[in-house]
Amino acid sequence: MTVAVTLLASALSQRIEVIAVAVGICGLIFELVRRKHLMERYAILWLLAGITVLVLALWKGLLTRLSHAVGIDYPPSALFAVAFLFVIVLLVHFSISVSRLSDQNKILAQRLALLQERLEHGQDGASDPAVPEATRIEEELPAG
């Protein structure tokens, strides 16, 4: 990305390099999804980033125009700002995902231990297979 930024405003051969990088990013993401190393919902964000770089490389005046429109004199600064914001949003998104996964993981461990106890030594007298509502995984965090 950094390489791409410094090259954006320069000569044609360098723009071709940037286009290659952007296409490479998109191709890599596509391949990761195809091999199931990356879920679609996370791939979308990265594909958007790759496509953004691609569009900026193809459309020469766009970055300059956009940055001037929001009052930034030095176009690469605008790009840095947007890229930085993107990374921050992505990290927060991942923190949320990790929190949700930890919580679901905890519930699975608890359910497993309860089932194992019932299977191995449990008295069937009071057996009540109903899963308590609040332990249903999707309820643990608001959607999104």
């Binding site: 461990a109 231990a113 309860l114 009071a126 509502e133 609040a134």
Partner: protein, 251 residues
């Protein structure tokens, strides 16, 4: 089947677990014993089972909050009336269990009773570091302000809960350092809690979940959880439940 359950969270307590179970049996013969083996790597689970306890084996370490919640889930599924937490390391003296029971039922009935190390001003208190006592003092102040009643030992895990509180904790129990938050959770759901004075024993084995280096993190984490908890909407737990107030009243 008995109607009362002693939940014993244990993580690598092989040296203490059998004697803890035996002393619960002696002091509180009308309690079933459930050991929640929180991902121990030693023979805690086997030793506990051999000593006649029911054992929940967590496949990996969840921490005290996740372990206790498993115990409450077990208590709810098996329809126990009472549950008491007795730590596996021998710190909690089961001879106080009858006192906890009588306080829970006695006079003004409560939903949760905690064994406090600091309630008796003439007691020898708990032999712990000054830093830890200052921390407990801070939590005590905050929790007392929020709940509007005096809470002297909000970090004590030596607790007895009735069926309402068991159901609540089975559904919603704090994760990492649960004791302080659990009191506020009770308060948010309009359940009543109180304390009795107890002495605690030095632990037989293992080490505290909170080392001195972690205690700073502990303070920050719990204070953050307390603060955020003030703004949390709590779902009603039962059809006849009064919907818990979003704004926990600060007195």
């Amino acid at each position: 089947m008995k109607r009362n359950l002693a939940i014993v969270p244990a993580h690598n307590e092989v040296a203490a677990i059998a004697s803890t179970i035996a002393s619960i049996r002696r002091s509180a013969p009308d309690f079933d014993v459930l050991v929640v083996d929180d991902g121990s790597t030693d023979a805690t689970a086997e030793r506990a089972f051999a000593a006649g306890a029911a054992v929940l084996r967590l496949p990996f370490n969840l921490g005290i909050g996740g372990a206790m919640q498993s115990g409450y889930m077990y208590a709810m599924e098996n329809k126990y009336d009472l549950a008491v937490q007795v730590d596996g390391d021998g710190q909690h003296d089961p001879s106080y269990i009858p006192d906890l029971v009588s306080r829970l039922h006695g006079g003004r009935a409560l939903n949760m009773v905690t064994g406090s190390r600091f309630l008796d001003p003439h007691g020898e208190g708990y032999r712990s570091s000054a830093a830890r006592r200052v921390g407990i003092r801070v939590f005590s102040f905050v929790v007392s302000r929020i709940t509007g009643q005096r809470v002297t030992d909000p970090t004590s895990g030596f607790r007895m809960t009735d069926q309402r509180a068991i159901e609540l904790f089975a559904r919603d129990y704090p994760c990492d350092y649960p004791e302080v938050e659990a009191i506020l959770l009770m308060h948010a759901h309009r359940l009543r809690s109180g304390e009795i004075s107890v002495q605690m024993r030095p632990r037989v084995s293992g080490k505290s979940a909170i080392s001195s280096t972690q205690s700073g993190y502990y303070m920050v984490k719990v204070l953050l959880a307390v603060f955020v908890g003030l703004f949390r909407t709590r779902p009603a737990q039962r059809a006849d439940d009064v919907t818990p107030d979003v704004r926990t009243r600060v007195t």
